[in-house]
């Protein structure tokens, strides 16, 4: 049932050096319900790691532990150890706000603030103590999100006036502007049309130069297009009958898609799942 050993080869082979985030035997609970069981997973620096798997396999739940977003859910509890640069993220001495400044997040649905396009980006930078040239930062962030040309003439307009794809890229620009080290993306394209999706994927490619990216996706083609490494999660019924998610296999993306070690991975990536 557990295949926690299969991932380690992949990382040792990578040239990434020391992993940015280590996930050691992590289980996640909502009250008495166990959502994720015993995950071991290391995230290499400046790579894109995709989490794939069926609904309810806990991939988003795990992602939200990396910036302590699960803190906001009453009753959520993490067991095991998640370290970021060798510091335990759940150390009581760690301020979750500080975590989120270093590990940014892009959400499933675009969620720009009800402010102008300019302010959407400037706000995050300002509260994070940025004191440089704000105009320059806004332009640079919008450029790196490939949005500058579309919005440069309407920076004073509301962020909510943009199309869905533009809003999502604005949210990416907003995250880029606070210069985190890691960017978490929770199905960033699930609410977008195919053309916007392609643009965001191109963007992820560019951002890889500067950031470590973890992306949760339902779309296997997307994982194969953008990710260097892919982790496949599955869900299984536990002893009490409630379903929990666990990590099946974690490897270089081409291995996962072309030569998976596990049968369930093979079934899933070839579309024979379920």
């Amino acid at each position: 049932m557990m295949n926690s050993s299969t991932y380690s080869d992949a990382i040792d082979n990578s040239a990434a050096g020391h992993p940015v985030i280590r996930t050691e035997n992590v289980s996640i609970f909502y009250g008495n319900f166990q959502a994720v069981r015993n995950v071991f997973l290391d995230i290499p620096k400046n790579k894109v790691v995709a989490f794939i798997g069926p609904s309810g396999c806990g991939k988003s739940t795990l992602l939200r532990c990396y910036n302590r977003l699960n803190d906001l859910i009453p009753g959520a509890r993490v067991e095991g150890k998640i370290t970021y640069q060798n510091i335990d993220l759940y150390d009581p001495k760690v301020d979750p706000v500080e975590v989120r400044r270093r590990i940014g997040m892009v959400f499933q649905r675009p969620n720009p603030f009800p402010k102008s396009i300019y302010e959407n980006i400037a706000f995050g930078a300002r509260i994070n103590g940025y004191k440089g040239d704000m105009d320059e930062l806004v332009e640079r962030s919008l450029r790196s999100a490939a949005l500058w040309d579309e919005v440069k003439d309407k920076l004073k307009e509301s962020g909510l006036s943009l199309s869905g794809g533009q809003q999502q890229r604005l949210c990416i620009a907003r995250t880029v502007a606070i210069e985190p080290e890691v960017i978490l993306m929770d199905e960033p394209c699930s609410a977008l049309d195919p053309i916007s999706t392609l643009r965001v994927e191109d963007l992820i490619h560019d951002l890889k130069q500067r950031f470590t990216i973890i992306i949760v996706t339902h779309n296997m083609q997307q994982a194969s297009r953008v990710a260097d490494y892919t982790a496949f999660f599955n869900a299984e019924a536990g002893e009490t009958g409630s379903r929990f998610g666990y990590l099946v296999e974690y490897d270089k993306t081409e291995h996962i898609f072309n030569a998976p070690k596990e049968k369930s991975t093979q079934d899933y990536v070839s579309g024979r799942f379920g």
Binding site: Q85, K93, R102
Partner: protein, 320 residues
Amino acid sequence: MTLQTIAPEETLIQSSQKFNLPRLINRLFYWLTVLLAVGVGVILLWITYSLLSIAFPAIAQFNIGFLFTQVWNPVQELYGALPQIYGTIVSSIIALLFAIPLGVGVAIFLSENFLPSKVLTPIAFLVELLAAIPSVVYGMWGIFVFIPFILPLLQLIHQWFGWIPLFSTSPSTRQMFATAMVLAIMILPTIIAISRDALISVPPQLRQGAYGLGATRWEAITQVLVPAALSGIIGSIMLALGRALGETMAAAMLIGNANRVNISLFAPASTISALIANQFGEASGLQRSSLFYLALILMILTLVVNMLAEFIVSRFQQVE
């Protein structure tokens, strides 16, 4: 150019431990909101306490007998609140007797499409307007318009039904019955608004089911919708009762401030809040203390009624 606060060489713990103004502000802000949230409860306790502390001499002097004696004598310093308690409860109940059928009727009207919404919306607005008129204006309207208008009618009732004790005295210009009718108008918006919400929130499947069985619109209303919305309607009635019990100005201006229980509804009477409004200005010492004792009784009365209403309404919200 990088952000100053995030120096890469600084570990998470170091930057978490470092002094950070936003973090401090956030913590202070959190505790401020906690303080004020607790403060809402403190205010309630404080109200009760301040009433209790001033009422204490009267409570010590008259004890529970205060509730059952008919005397209000500042000269001999003897006080009993039976007429006021009786008047408060009876006037509220009569007001409910008028307001319930009227209010539920209007609520049904507003929740159904008897008329196109172009007509319904302004009517709903007018009903809300009814709630916006201050009670002192209702009181003045009662003095100058309503009582002069209703008095001949009450006179007729007295002539025909004078043998019934409730109508046994000749209608006075300041009296219980007319006051209760004005109170009824004042609590109408409460009943209408909440009953209407309850009726609207009945799942449409119930109505469709009733229609499917061949029920007419009114059969569906009386046998399905109103029973389904009943807890909401009862909750609205309880809230309205709470309002009627505590209503001051209309009662103070219209009820006549008689310090005795009169079984006839056409005779002057008194209510707790009316007595407080009328006597507080000149009161001191034991009289003032007695008025606070009365206020405490009113507070408990409305508290019980409102909590009951809250309980009933919250049950209907859960069903929803």
